[in-house]
């Protein structure tokens, strides 16, 4: 909770300073852009957080997003009458399939997730490129209903952002209130103890990878709806931003602690920095440096907090004895 509060505070501070510098930063259009800009990263960060909580990582999300976005475009090219619901389901299904491939490789080959998803990052992207074969899908080819979803708002909130909020709330509730959700934390906290307490470790990690894949698929559909123009390079390199958002959001990289809310706030903070720095007339070079510094600060804070808690608990015991 403390960590989520800290990130929230940093976010408020950033928005406040930027708005004082340039009041237009918070007008209706700009607010909408901020939310839209964060949407895809939030969806990916929620999936990544679940994976990282189990002491794994999914580096293939960018490629899965690209594949799913392009598939959505292809689907509409082939059948422009496809209902939006079906397109969303198709994207999610494709992502789920990719996640299942990742999960199966980890479970069957007993190879660390880092290596498996580094491999599938290239494999999925390769499939994407060879399928696209240089083709670009233009916004004009997309049905207008789908494009409208990319810009429509409900009570001032973009529809796409509502997807992200729904995903976040569901994931947060699941991790908090369901046995399998708590077991994800247990696995990340101590995999060996998890095995001894009869938790199906392999199966849960598989599930986490599948969820991450499905959410990356959803992010692909959202990407298609937002940008309209698609080629095979969509989402290239976004995986590192996602991992950064999760770490900044207070999810321990060695698993076991943190929340999807924190990860979502981390994603919101990173994307807001991206929009705020140009307004503040700061060199784009610094944007990367700021993100890097944030990651280091988050990790440093994590260490310091852990050490302090351990010290305090030990001290309490020493006095009590």
């Amino acid at each position: 909770m403390v960590r989520e509060l800290g990130i929230g505070l940093a976010l408020v501070l950033l928005v406040a300073v930027t708005t004082i510098y340039n009041p237009r930063f918070l007008n209706a259009q700009s607010r909408k852009d901020l939310m839209l800009g964060a949407t895809i990263l939030v969806v990916l960060a929620v999936g990544q957080a679940i994976v990282v909580i189990t002491r794994n990582v999914d580096l293939s999300v960018g490629s899965v997003l690209g594949l799913s976005a392009f598939a959505t475009g292809k689907l509409f090219l082939a059948m422009s009458e496809t209902p939006i619901v079906l397109a969303v389901l198709a994207g999610v299904g494709l992502g789920l399939l990719c996640g299942i491939v990742n999960g199966a490789l980890i479970a069957v080959a007993r190879v660390p997730a880092l290596v498996v998803t580094l491999g599938t990052l290239y494999v999925f992207r390769g499939v994407d490129y060879s399928w696209a074969a240089g083709q670009q899908i233009n916004a004009a080819d997309m049905p207008s209903g789908f494009k409208r979803m990319g810009t429509a708002t409900l009570l001032g909130i973009p529809v796409l952002a509502l997807f992200a909020i729904a995903v976040l709330v569901f994931a947060g509730y699941y991790l908090r209130n369901y046995r399998s959700g708590r077991e994800m934390y247990a696995i990340g906290s101590d995999p060996e103890a998890a095995r001894l307490s009869g938790i199906p470790v392999g199966w849960r990690v598989f599930t986490a990878m599948a969820i991450s894949g499905a959410l990356a698929g959803l992010a692909g559909v959202l990407h298609a709806a937002r940008f309209g123009t698609l080629d095979a390079a969509a989402g290239n390199g976004i995986e590192l931003q996602v991992v950064a958002a999760v770490v900044v959001g207070g999810v321990a990289i060695f698993g076991g602690s943190g929340s999807v809310y924190g990860a979502a706030l981390g994603a919101l903070l990173l994307s807001t920095i991206g929009s705020a720095l140009p307004v503040l007339r700061i060199d784009p070079f610094w944007q990367q440096a700021v993100v890097g510094a944030l990651i280091l600060a988050a990790i440093g804070l994590d260490r310091a907090l852990t050490a302090r808690i351990a010290d305090r608990l030990r001290g309490r015991r020493a006095r009590g004895a």
């Binding site: 209130n177 369901y178 046995r179 708590r182 077991e183 934390y185 247990a186 990340g188 906290s189 101590d190 060996e192 103890a193 998890a194 095995r195 001894l196 307490s197 009869g198 938790i199 199906p200 321990a252 076991g256 602690s257 852990t306 808690i309 351990a310 010290d311 305090r312 608990l313 030990r314 015991r317 020493a318 004895a321």
Partner: protein, 507 residues
Amino acid sequence: MPEQPSNGATLLALSGVSKSFGAVRALVDGQLELRAGEVHALVGENGAGKSTLVKILAGVHSPDGGVLTLDGEPSTFTGPADARGAGIAVIYQEPTLFPDLSVTENIFMGRQPLRGLRRIDAASMRRRTAELFARLGVHLDPDRPARGLSIADQQLVEIAKALSFDARVLVMDEPTAALSGVEVERLFAVVRSLRESGAAILFISHRFDEVFALCQRITVMRDGRWVSTDRVEDLDVGQVVRRMVGREISQLYPKQQTQAGDVALEVRDLTRQGVFENVSFTLRRGEIVALAGLVGAGRSEVVRAVFGVDRYDSGEILVDGVRLPRGKPAAAISAGVALVPEDRRQQGLVMELSIERNATLPRRWSLARLGLLGPRVEREDAFGWTQRLQVKAGALSDPVSTLSGGNQQKVVLAKWLSTSPKVLIVDEPTRGIDVGTKAEVHRLMSQLAADGVAVLMVSSELPEVLGMADRVLVMHEGRLVEEIARERADEESVMLAATGQSSGGAA
């Protein structure tokens, strides 16, 4: 077999159970019969196969051979969840908690009480935790994280976990090793009430007073085999010890008489906050000094600090009167200190590398010519040492992981002996090694001491400590509480000091 007074039915039984890990035969012939309403003791030396047997009961390992019967029906457990479903609760020697999660969540992980839509009922979970703690008489905050709990508190959480689902069979692997007198009494009261309610309890302990006070029958194991099962009334401590060891201790530990020489190592007021405090001792040439104590007393941490692998907050370490810099293993090695670590797979060897390369690793610079290390130099050098220590290996170029545990340990010893150390520190030198190799390792240590090396040995095996050491230093909760000379050292004096019940110990 005599009739039981409790006349309990057999709940769980093992017969002819075996289990091997690679070339190591951890269990050859395991037998056990747990009856309702009975506390059954399982005793044996370290490495006798008790923990392997426990893991088979827990469903962690599936046996290679033999039969497990549950309520008279032959059964197999496919995993820990299976065993738990059958009503078997296991408290392991080393607590297995999730440090990031709350105490409550640790107790109910995987079995949380549910409300509508299969959601976790956090309120009732918390209430039940409070009830369990009240029943155990423990004062712990149910919401605090498990990280930072003392070993005794962790053990209590494990016990609460076992109580939380009304287990029919409760297996406790040395549950009292880290508990104080009051906590042990409380645990025993709980165990007795469980027994009266008809549970079968397996109790593993090295403390014979507890075994005789609590248990109705005793099973003795040695070298992975069942030796005997008898009623407590028909046994005394002496008989049990003889069956455990199977031979006279004097034969097993070929200690040579040596003359202690100059001080080789001096440790003054070594302190690391929260781990060990004001540890001071000296070690003379030709001496074997044992550092005894319970698991978690801080022994390994002290020797690791001496060697410079772990940091320490204050105090100093002198080798031959020269102060060692802090946290520099390279300096310790060049001053003539060698450490054979506790965990040879993780810390003692590079498992994928060849035997010869492992054996020459600390001297890779001195063996090199013009900065290049040729394979022939390594091989010739390693050959000499492996011959001397009688390492049984196929080829020296084989990965060290192909060797048996005992031979791996000899390679670790070869590696450090080749540096001609003045001070040799061995941490659990014979853990997980078969009896024959054990004796060889002991003979070697004795020989080294006779040659004037100062040997500091950390060991949890009392017979080893008593058989090998000229002096026994006993640690309890991070403090050096007692120094016992060889003549006065016996199981009782060491165990009393280690559990903090001697003159200086805390209540």
